[in-house]
């Protein structure tokens, strides 16, 4: 009985401690992000890896998401003879929900996993310890530029995703299914308000923070061996997805 109790206690405590470590990691990374000197070159490099390198996959997935929304929106709106609302349905869906979430998924898969693997390998090959021994704070040097870069790059990627998706749906709805071009855009413009755009951007900024936070933490604290790196990569992607969806629910509930 006592053994059973202690096992439950140990399990709970170890998980609580892991959560606390993760949160402290976030706090120190954030605090160091906004303390000079800012490493402009490093930030620039990470905007390239997060933003530019994910651009092709974000554009591609945005385009096809938009085209699918064109078909599906048309299918369900046709039942009410409301095909002219296709533009507004697509734009609201993309701006508020699909744009931020799907582009965050793409960045997690494209860049977040690479971050975890890179930092995990640096941990395994003792490069992080080497930074410590050179009196360079590895969080300041490795994590902070990535956080700033993701805060800049994510909303831009989301905006690109939204615009490409809207034109993808336009291509299907107007070009293929014969919705009138005027009603597509006027319906969109009349029903979208600035709050929709704004809430989508808030989401994407917070998702950017979640991705770098989770992936850097997992990589930074990876067990220093080959399986540790692979494990850290997998965990970082899965945990990022879960965090993004859960956080998305709360943000939507707050900002509706």
């Amino acid at each position: 009985m006592l053994l059973f109790l202690s096992r439950i206690g140990r399990y709970t405590l170890s998980h609580l401690a892991a959560m606390g470590r993760m949160f402290l990691f976030l706090l120190s990374a954030l605090a160091l992000s906004f303390r000079p000197p800012a490493k402009i070159r490093l930030i620039l490099y990470h905007i390239k890896t997060i933003g530019v390198d994910s651009l092709s996959v974000v554009v591609l997935s945005g385009f096809f998401t938009g085209m699918v929304m064109g078909f599906q929106g048309y299918y369900s709106l046709r039942k009410f003879n409301a095909e002219s609302w296709l533009g507004s349905a697509t734009a609201l869906g993309l701006l508020r929900e699909l744009g931020p979430v799907l582009s965050a998924f793409m960045v997690t898969g494209r860049t977040g996993s690479a971050m975890a693997a890179e930092l995990g390998t640096m941990r395994a090959t003792e490069q992080i310890d080497a930074l410590y021994s050179m009196a360079i704070n590895p969080i300041k040097y490795l994590v902070s530029p990535r956080i700033i870069a993701s805060l800049i790059a994510m909303p831009l990627l989301t905006a690109i995703f939204d615009v490409v998706g809207i034109y993808g749906a336009y291509l299907v709805g107007v070009g293929l299914l014969g919705v009138s071009s005027g009603s597509y855009f006027s319906g969109m413009e009349s029903s979208v308000v600035f709050h929709d755009v704004y809430s989508g951007l808030i989401k994407s900024v917070s998702f950017g923070l979640i991705i770098t936070w989770v992936c850097c933490y997992k990589g930074f604290h990876a067990p220093p061996m080959a399986t540790g790196v692979s494990q850290a990569t997998t965990e970082s992607v899965v945990l990022s997805f879960v965090f993004i969806l859960v956080w998305d629910y709360f943000l939507t509930a707050i900002m509706l």
Binding site: R41, L44, Y45, I47, K48, G51, V52, L55, A91, L95, I152, A153, P155, L156, L157, A159, I160, D162, V163, M188, E189, S190, V192, V193, F194, H195, D196, V197, Y198, L201
Partner: protein, 153 residues
């Protein structure tokens, strides 16, 4: 060389992203960068049920402004309508609230007047028509006394 290449790529990315962002914010979100343009006139209605902030103000089907404020004044609803500067409203224009289709969006229709005097900023439109209450109309239709009642009004 690699440094400058990174910079160029990031520059292109940021530029494209900002253009998309601006497109979404200005075209779709109707964010007004240049502050408020145009002037405001007021109009009192018996009911503005269904009208929302930002709904269009139209003359002959052309959008000339939007609903900026909805408030209450002496038991009637007072709308503030922001109208573009190039549009001159005569003193005796008629403002009415119409709907596009049975369940469509509401909008404010302004029918031009004939007076020589123009409404300035802060002016008040005196002639207004409230929207027909769909439920009331259906009730009358079912009751069979639609024609006489509406003729009396």
């Amino acid at each position: 060389m690699t440094q400058t290449r990174t910079e160029i790529l990031v520059g292109i990315f940021v530029l494209v992203g900002v253009i998309c962002l601006a497109y979404l914010a200005v075209r779709l979100g109707k964010l007004e960068l240049l502050g408020n343009q145009g002037y405001v006139v007021y109009a009192d209605f018996a009911s503005v049920a269904g009208l929302k902030l930002g709904d269009p103000v139209e003359i002959a089907g052309v959008k000339v402004g939007k609903v900026e404020s909805i408030g209450l004044a002496d038991d009637s609803a007072r709308l503030g309508l922001r109208v573009e500067d190039r549009i001159k409203l005569q003193e005796d224009v008629i403002a009415s609230i119409r709907a596009r289709g049975l369940i469509g969006d509401k909008f404010v229709l302004i029918s031009p007047g004939a007076s020589d005097r123009l409404l300035g900023s802060g002016g008040k439109i005196r002639d207004t028509e409230s929207p027909p209450d769909i439920n009331e109309l259906i009730g009358k239709l079912v009751g069979g006394d639609l024609a006489p009642k509406s003729a009396q009004k």
